[in-house]
Symmetry: C2
Subunit: 394 residues, 2 copies
């Protein structure tokens, strides 16, 4: 039964609607991390790579994430950051389509995906093109010069959702490779990578997967392809025999070749402990609860806060697990909300973004959040000068 | 005064001669990491990026590492893994010498540096060449087709040390860019990057810097060049305005552009706490103590263990902070040593490797280690079948 608030440390007086940016601390984490630091690193020292399982962890944890995104065991590995994983997948995709020159994405994609594509193209130095289209025009833009279609399933600002199965099918019909960024999908809604048939998927684990700040990213490679990928980031832990210290690179079989350098053991352990909250959880139940919370939020806000404009799709089927509202005073209103214990975030230019995470939120939280939002708007509390100053991270 | 054993948690009965692979746990770390997990992540949630300083940490910690390698403030940033940092530096180097086609390295370099060069060349797909020469022939091999000379200062197997100043000068005379890998140098011996005048340096922080398993890597860019680098891995946190979420990449000023994705906050915090052991430490004192320990070890082993052959330079000035011995039974002998509490490591094909780390070792430890080594050899204890089985990580 949802929610499972007992599994999380949420500070008193906080309604946390920002799990889509950084998930809160699962109660299983502190003790497990302390153990990794003191008993494993401190007590086992270098032996920990074997005895504490550090070396196997990126793939073991990858399998746990894989279960939540419809990926078979052995097809997901954790490591690095989402930016790096995007680079790996894009570079491999271009290699798979040597006669094509276009990376197609949409202009609502998260910037780092686009930046990494830019950097890759610039590094290759050939006439590749990063072609951007409006999200609603993606289907029409999948032409036969496209090497790879790179999309984030759920838009980070509006929550608008692409149809993964349909677009993947179109990409394949046009002969293109399909790469999905699941940053706002993994742990937020049911994903079935195996059914989608996409070649690559990537994502981060610090949002809905609650892995902690800077938790490692994941990459999925379709199992029938994994042994054929030529890794651009050919690091020693993706080598077939890293401890043979051979001079030449020979990729490990399967998903192991997408590993690069030494894995961040403390972060990986925090994530592994955090993933225990998913034991026995069905993503279909998460989705149903997420929609119920989101619909309640939209209904209450529209009834009580008429100055705000819904910036997310009204149809729940076209929305991820977040809802955004636009206003003329979004930045200051969000600061006032945070000051009152309702934590969402602001996204330029004018969006207030609220994430709905059924593991630790219930309808009472949603109503209480709207009560505070209404009070701030009715009393123009956003007009206080202290809410105007911008932080480095907003 | 050295050593400072009080600053470290070393398990009872252990003589730890593997700080060149994974440094032991500094006592300042567990409480600080627990605070980062519970008070910062748990208590501050998304606000931690500002209020706990997470966003500024990669550069703040970079400055602390910089002090130990002769790099001015603002020239070092932490993140990712050493493999990724090698890729960044190599890609930037090739861009800086568009008319040249050779990456020169030596065949004793750590494999991941060579593998990452291979992957980069393969990604660019042009006629670049990774040219390897014997370590002693590097100077002669710096010809005018070399775009970048990439060397690890201290050989990971033998401890043999390149002359950083002299080789950098030769590289520059030939018009090549110089990239130093300081994996076995940072925290092991005095390094003066500013004086060396090299363009790039990279290294890891889990060896002599004791940052913990999977601690983030560092990259140094010579300050006069930092604003001109075109990053191949152009991630959003290397953008000039990451939270403006612009569609196009604009690199941040200076070293900030070498950041890629979201930093691993828990690992970074462990490292930051670990670096406090260097407060008030002069690297010249570390070097003097390291040489005294290494010389004592060589003297005792050669006197008492005649079946072992020194595989490191005999001249301390040509050696880093480790000593390797070769034998016909190195793997099993090392397992027997570890079983008796003397932890070094094995490196294929036949080396036993011992690291000397004056922060937590004294001459008594060295003599005690040789006592045990002599006992194992005199009594052929390595012949026990239980010492023959290879672990995944050796």
């Amino acid at each position: 039964m949802l929610p499972r608030k007992d599994l999380f440390e949420i500070p008193d007086g906080i309604i946390y609607l920002d799990g889509n940016s950084l998930g809160p601390l699962p109660r299983a984490v502190p003790e497990r991390v302390a153990q990794a630091v003191s008993a494993e690193w401190g007590g086992q020292l270098i032996k920990g790579w074997n005895s504490a399982g550090w070396m196997a962890q990126p793939q073991a944890v990858g399998d746990k994430v894989g279960r939540l995104i419809g990926a078979p065991a052995g097809s997901v590995v954790m490591g690095d950051t989402l930016s790096i994983k995007v680079f790996q997948a894009l570079a491999a995709s271009l290699k798979m389509r040597p006669d094509r020159s276009v990376i197609l994405s949409d202009n609502g994609n998260f910037p780092t995906d686009l930046y990494m594509a830019e950097g890759l193209i610039d590094t290759i130095g050939k006439d590749y093109e990063l072609r951007l289209t409006a999200p609603e025009n993606v289907a029409a833009a999948i032409t036969d010069d496209v090497a790879v279609v790179m999309l984030t399933q759920v838009d980070y600002r509006s929550g608008r959702m692409h149809d993964m199965a349909a677009i993947t099918k179109l990409a394949h019909s046009a002969g293109a490779v399909m790469l999905w960024d699941l940053a706002h999908s993994a742990g937020a809604l049911p994903v079935d990578l195996a059914v989608s048939n996409c070649e690559f998927a990537v994502g981060c684990s610090y949002k809905y997967l609650n892995g902690g700040p800077g938790a490692p990213a994941f990459i999925y490679v379709r199992p029938d392809l994994a042994d054929t990928i030529e890794p651009a980031l050919s690091g020693w832990l993706g080598h077939d025999a890293p401890f043979a210290f051979e001079q030449g690179y020979r990729p490990a079989p399967g998903i192991g070749r997408m590993r690069v350098g030494t894995p961040p053991v403390l972060q990986m352990t925090a994530l592994e402990a955090a993933l225990t909250v998913w034991d026995g959880i069905d993503m279909a139940d998460i989705r149903a609860a997420s929609i119920a919370l989101s619909e309640a939020f939209i209904r209450e806000v529209e009834a009580r806060c008429p100055s705000l404009t819904l910036a997310s799709p009204r149809d729940a089927d076209q929305r991820g697990s977040q809802v955004s509202f636009a206003s003329d005073h979004s930045y200051a209103t969000m600061q006032a909300l945070i000051d009152r214990g309702v934590i969402g975030d602001f996204r330029a230019p004018d969006l207030m973004r609220f994430g709905f995470t059924p593991l630790y939120l219930d309808e009472g939280d949603v109503i209480a959040a709207v009560d505070i939002l209404q009070d701030i708007l009715d009393n123009r509390l956003w007009d206080d000068p202290k809410y105007q100053t911008r932080n480095a991270v907003t």
